[in-house]
Symmetry: C2
Subunit: 218 residues, 2 copies
Amino acid sequence: MKTSTKNKVIIVDDHLLFSQSLKFLINSFNDFEVTHSFENGKEFIQFLEQKENLDIEVDLILLDVNMPILDGLGTMMWLKENRPDYKAIALSVNNEEDIIIKMIKNGAKGYLLKDTTPTIFYDALKTVIEKGYFFTEMVSGILVNRIDNKDKKLEFKEKELDFIKRACSEKTYKEIADEMCLSPKTIDGYRENIFAKLEIKTRIGLVLYAIKNKIVCV
Amino acid sequence: MKTSTKNKVIIVDDHLLFSQSLKFLINSFNDFEVTHSFENGKEFIQFLEQKENLDIEVDLILLDVNMPILDGLGTMMWLKENRPDYKAIALSVNNEEDIIIKMIKNGAKGYLLKDTTPTIFYDALKTVIEKGYFFTEMVSGILVNRIDNKDKKLEFKEKELDFIKRACSEKTYKEIADEMCLSPKTIDGYRENIFAKLEIKTRIGLVLYAIKNKIVCV
DNA sequence: TGTTGCAAGGGGAAAATTCCCCTTTTTTAT
DNA sequence: ATAAAAAAGGGGAATTTTCCCCTTGCAACA
């Protein structure tokens, strides 16, 4: 039994209609073939951890970012830890800077949007196999942007994040203070700090910021 | 030149990687073939309106819900008005009741999530062609649910909606009153009405509701 | 013709939010 | 070991938000 010389591709994506269609597209390229596909990161990792799959050939992983159970980032972190030599390309519909940065930090060799053309897609697969990475202009732009002003991204401490999440509710600051076992005055201090950092003036502004930046989800 | 007997399918979806892959999947079915694909509703409608395309054969349209320029709902409304005999299936990643209802109200023959399996997908295509509609259990569930309590959905007047949108900002009620050329007391009246309807107690609750229900977008 | 409903506006007060300036304690860094 | 941050908490006051109860004018309607 001869194994083909095509590059072995694994798809991890919960949108079955997409992943199963994509399989057709990839199989139509004459140097790639899809060997497995999984619906989320957990299924994929469980597969990799089975003894009989330890020395399986994996040339490229296409990893959806938004998945249930275990998402793209979580899976990428596991790969970085356990299979650092595997090459993965992240696939997503949204171009949020933060998640792009995090995926690449964790070893993603590329980040493609789902509105990519099949031509560019093929180019990306090929380039990652040959050169080890493929970044579109959008991603490169974000990367250089991050080098200039690394303090652009606002960081919050754990307590602050906790407070922000609780502030996105109908609770009063006093109730939040009780929940966090802190004085209302301490909470007031958190609030003032955060307002200053974000250049906002009201709790409404904080809620809008938190939702926009996915600190809380609607 | 003989035209094949396969059902002619048109795909309208801005995610090229998806639509071009889906084309492979559909073409692998032996009674369907993709004849055209478009990146958004506007492109699709412009194509339909060209004189030479007036009597083109269109057996099925696969319509993505979220698209730039002209989205699935807008396109569906145009179809209902101008090509009421065309059969369209809506495709989406999210299962929001409101949009599902609206699509079906405007004549969609089915509503599929993108995590559908290819088998069910094929079944849907076939059933819509043969029976004229295909509803998954999820969609049927929503439909019967809507019949029971048709007043479930809260309605707002124009002024109220306008107020809600403006309330989702750092403006004070006084500033909002100025913008809307009304007395702050009138605004206070709107607010109290809305709070009662929504069973909320704070402006934060209103903002959360507005975002959740897409009255404003983040 | 009266009644009902509702949009617009008001008085007044309690509660919550926002702001500024200050103290104490704990961590961290040099 | 000591100075400098950072975290926790406080006083007090101006604004804003929230709530309840009330008046007027207008339009629909039976």
